[in-house]
């Protein structure tokens, strides 16, 4: 079954190899991932780059600190130094950032890029397996089209990593995957090597609407019955495999249970290896789901959309469940009717984990502005939060909810050099991501149009290479 030990080993290996030079790093990780439990291993390779020094900038480190007149050194894919002055290696690329800001790269925990790609033709509709309410066996990564031009647009908005999820039609929509925003020929080329898998679940209206006349669920109560039934099956499956594993350990042998893709994923959640990302709008439904979570002893990593999180922010804090939210979307359906502009700062101020997410190929391009709106709406409501603290919503909290905070999501020495140089204070409408770095390489430079990445889809079409 899900070999938790192997999974842990993969992580351990990668952490150690992080200290080695890049080429052997890749060799190690690929080897470790060619594993029966990892049938689609990442083939991501960082782009080699000379060391980069950015100076005279305001740094938001993404974990609550702001450093003025600062410098930062990106070297060998990592953030190697930052502060009032850093060493400048020979042959380093030096960038004067006077008047500009540096932040960790934005991480969007809710994207459908690649699974609902542009152009949004029917043939690109690969995000919702609407053939049954429980499809835990499907994996979003098998739908991702790396040629979606949306990836390049998101990059120009300072997004360095994202989670790509199945849609929300199903109670269990399938596995999500975390990718680096550096698409190439294959999905595996962009897969975040160290990221654990997630699973998409959904509350409320969508499963009801989709299955109401297709055998159910047609009510919220049947939604909850559906989750519980699935967890009971997963528990049985987990036990079957645990019994088999112990028997093997004791030298007794026995028949190996047959694999079931659906239950394997659900058991992975019960084992704590797969993180739950649950689409849920209403406060009362989130409270029910936190009880289901306790009943079956699993962990909900985050509620997505969480329009009413502000109503139960205390409970979210107590249960340590993150909320991934929009700044101001509301009203498009009944369960989104009670949306308010201060949702994000109210959740944050209650001591719960707040995340700004997009769920949109347009919204993902300006998540910094979404955070800025929420931040200023909070201030006007008396919720004093500094900008340096608010940036938690864009990088660190998303990274934590995706299980990749050891690698990215903040400006700290030794972390992946996933950073953005903003033309001005990123809390301004007029600020733009001027340069974007992933693993220490400059992957977007607004000032150099000939360097802009172009997807296969846009190659040879009108306006190829135009400012987008």
């Amino acid at each position: 079954m899900f070999k938790r030990n192997t999974a842990k080993m993969v992580v351990a290996l990668l952490v150690t190899s992080a200290l080695l030079p890049a080429c052997s790093d890749d060799k190690h990780s690929n080897q470790a991932q060619r594993d029966e439990n990892n049938p689609f291993p990442s083939t991501y390779q960082r782009i080699e780059s000379a060391a980069i020094v950015i100076s005279n900038v305001t740094i938001l480190d993404g974990i609550g600190n702001k450093i003025e007149n600062a410098e930062i050194l990106l070297e060998d894919g990592k953030i190697s130094e930052f502060g009032s002055s850093v060493s400048v290696p020979r042959n380093a690329i030096e960038i004067d950032g006077t008047g500009k800001w540096v932040t960790p790269g934005i991480i969007d925990t809710h994207s459908h890029l690649g699974v609902y790609a542009s152009p949004s033709t029917r043939s690109h509709s690969d995000g919702n397996e609407m053939t049954g309410p429980v499809t835990a066996e499907v994996w979003a990564e098998h739908s991702i089209w790396p040629q979606d031009p949306g990836f390049q647009r998101a990059l120009a908005g300072g997004v360095t990593s994202m989670q790509i999820l199945p849609g929300s039609a199903n109670l269990f929509g399938g596995r999500s995957v975390t990718v680096k925003n550096l698409p190439s020929r294959t999905m595996q080329d962009m897969k975040f090597p160290e990221a654990p898998y997630g699973i998409k679940m959904a509350c409320g209206e969508n499963p009801k609407r989709v299955y109401g006349s297709k055998g159910g669920p047609m009510t919220r109560m049947a939604n909850v019955a559906g989750y519980r039934k699935a967890w009971i099956e997963a528990q049985e499956y987990q036990k079957k495999w645990n019994d088999y594993d112990s028997a093997v350990e004791e030298g007794k042998g026995g028949d190996k249970p047959s694999r079931n893709l659906r239950l394997e994923t659900l058991a992975g959640v019960l084992d704590g290896e797969i993180l739950v990302h649950m689409h849920c709008y209403r406060a009362d439904e989130m409270a029910v789901m936190m009880d289901v979570m306790k009943e079956f002893n699993y962990k909900i990593g985050s509620f997505h959309h969480a329009i009413e999180a502000y109503k139960i922010a205390d409970k979210l804090a107590e249960n340590k469940v993150c909320s991934a939210m929009w700044a101001d979307w509301w009203g498009f359906k009944m369960e989104a009717y009670d949306g308010i502009r201060e949702n994000i700062p109210m959740v944050h101020k209650a001591g719960a984990c707040a995340i700004v997410h997009s769920d949109s190929s347009l919204g993902i391009q300006r998540l910094n502005q979404e955070a800025a709106k929420a931040w200023s709406d909070g201030l006007r409501a008396g919720l004093e939060i500094s900008k340096e603290e608010a940036w938690l919503w864009l990088s660190a909290n998303p990274a934590k909810s995706l299980g990749i905070f050891d690698y990215t999501g903040s400006i700290e020495e030794g972390k992946n050099a996933d950073v953005v140089l903003w033309s001005a204070d990123p809390f301004s409408t007029y600020s733009q991501a001027e340069k974007v770095f992933i693993d220490g390489a400059m992957v977007f430079d607004r000032t150099n149009p000939s360097s802009w990445p172009v997807s296969d889809f846009e190659l040879g079409q009108i306006a190829q290479g135009d400012a987008k």
Binding site: P119, Y310, F332, A372, K373, F457, A463
Partner: protein, 439 residues
């Protein structure tokens, strides 16, 4: 923070939270809620007229109208002063193309007057008329107003037919009769979306459009009485509505994106010279910006649409607004219903992508007023116009700034909505009581 305060006397605040929680917004309605004569002083005033931007001026409002727009600070006798030093004043923003008053909750929530299922009164959709459907109790009105909007064009989102009916201009005052101008525009989708609902091809769509307009032309000189025969493709009611389109009384808003489509839209004027055309969306409009400008056709757009979401918008770019403006095309921004605040945000993003700031403010005020023919009363701060005025904390295109006070026809609007009430309830909930007892 600079506090906006009435200069005349100190006032009790509308509600206690305002004082505690909104030092920035500590405006009190009670002084001037009923004042006939107001002097807004010291603000940077964007007049949207030949006076341009006055860095520090005074706006005099009397009897619901703009009385004077002056340089410097001066408060004539009888006026209640509102000290707006350090603030920004603009005309109330105009929702360029919305469904306001027609929809509360978009999906699965009862009747949605922004959508029409085909009805026998109309065969091509032009007859439908939103003036009868405006619900001034909609919570969206206050929510939109809080964002600095005072009026809006509102029309049907979908009819499933060729035309999307006739829209109206409404004020956001919440007065029972909020229709400022009925039958203010008609909309037709001639992009790939329109083709999809008309035989799946432009080859059918365009013939249907031409035929509809020709029949309307013919109907002008026909007797459409019920006792007379009419065998047209369009219904009698459609013919009446389209008659006002071809004679230029009602502007025809046309959604189109592909450059070919846009040029073909412009060529409609060859056969129907009185048509008043307005392009909507026009994502590839920048490629034929000169032609659009030469035809004197304005464009209502979403400047943030920069993805090739269909094969007819492969040229979509964040620079569309700036490029159209540079070619002398009048643009208007704000195709938003639940989230009006996105319009100034995206207008600001258009500025970051090359649009002059003034042009962005025009796109939210005087340009939509001109498109809909209400520029004599709305859209700028000029003597004699209706006093739809907003005092902003700063640059209205900055996402971190906000509308501090909105006036419609000189009357200060309450700066509250169902959303602010939900917020306040949960910010100040008494944990010892069920939440329903927190007001």
């Amino acid at each position: 923070m600079n506090v906006l305060k009435p200069a005349v006397k100190k006032l009790s605040l509308v509600n206690k939270y305002v004082a505690i929680l909104f030092p920035i917004v500590a405006l009190s309605l009670s002084t001037y809620a009923n004042a006939e004569k107001l002097a807004i002083t010291g603000a940077q005033i964007h007049t949207m007229s030949s006076k341009g931007v006055i860095e520090q001026g005074t706006l005099l409002i009397d009897d619901g109208k703009i009385k004077q727009v002056l340089e410097g600070v001066s408060v004539p006798a009888g006026y209640t002063e509102i000290d707006a030093k350090g603030k920004v004043v603009t005309p109330g923003f105009i929702g360029a193309l919305t469904n306001l008053g027609l929809v509360e909750v978009s999906m699965s929530a009862g009747a949605n007057d922004a959508r029409v299922n085909a009805h026998e009164i109309s065969s091509v959709g032009s007859a439908y008329d939103t003036q009868y459907a405006i619900n001034t109790d909609s919570t969206l009105i206050e929510i939109t107003r809080l964002e600095g909007f005072t009026s809006a064009a509102t029309g049907l989102g979908r009819t499933g037919q060729l035309f999307d009916g006739q829209g109206a201009i409404i004020t956001l005052s919440k007065a029972f009769n909020s229709v400022v101008k009925p039958q203010a525009f008609m909309h037709v989708d001639l992009s790939s979306g329109g083709a999809n609902k008309s035989g799946g091809s432009r080859a059918a769509l365009w013939v249907a459009v031409n035929q509809s307009l020709r029949e309307a032309e013919f109907a002008k000189t026909s007797d459409l009485s019920p006792n007379k025969e009419w065998h047209g493709m369009i219904s009698r009611a459609d013919a009446l509505a389209l008659g006002n389109v071809i004679n230029g009384k009602i502007p025809l808003l046309v959604s189109a994106n592909r450059a070919n489509d846009i040029l073909q839209v412009l060529s409609l004027k060859t056969d129907f010279p009185s048509l008043k055309l307005v392009l909507v969306s026009a994502s590839d409009g920048w490629r034929v910006a000169k032609q659009i400008a030469a035809a004197n056709v304005p464009v209502i757009l979403d400047p943030e649409n920069n993805l090739p979401s269909q094969f007819d918008r492969l040229g979509a770019t964040l620079e569309n607004a700036a490029r159209l403006h540079a070619a002398n095309v009048k643009i208007s921004i704000g195709i938003n219903t639940h989230n009006a605040r996105l319009a100034p945000q995206h207008a600001g993003n258009a500025v970051a992508n090359g649009l002059p700031h003034t042009a962005a403010i025009e796109a939210l005020t005087i340009n939509p007023a001109t498109i809909y023919g209400v520029q004599d009363t709305l859209g700028s701060l000029e003597v004699g116009k209706q006093a739809d005025v907003v005092i902003w904390s700063g640059d209205p295109l900055e996402v971190t700034q906000s509308a501090l006070q909105v006036f419609i026809a000189g009357k200060a609007m309450p700066m509250e909505s169902r959303q602010t009430k939900l917020r306040d309830r949960y910010l100040h909930r008494d944990p010892k009581l069920p939440v329903t007892y927190s007001k």
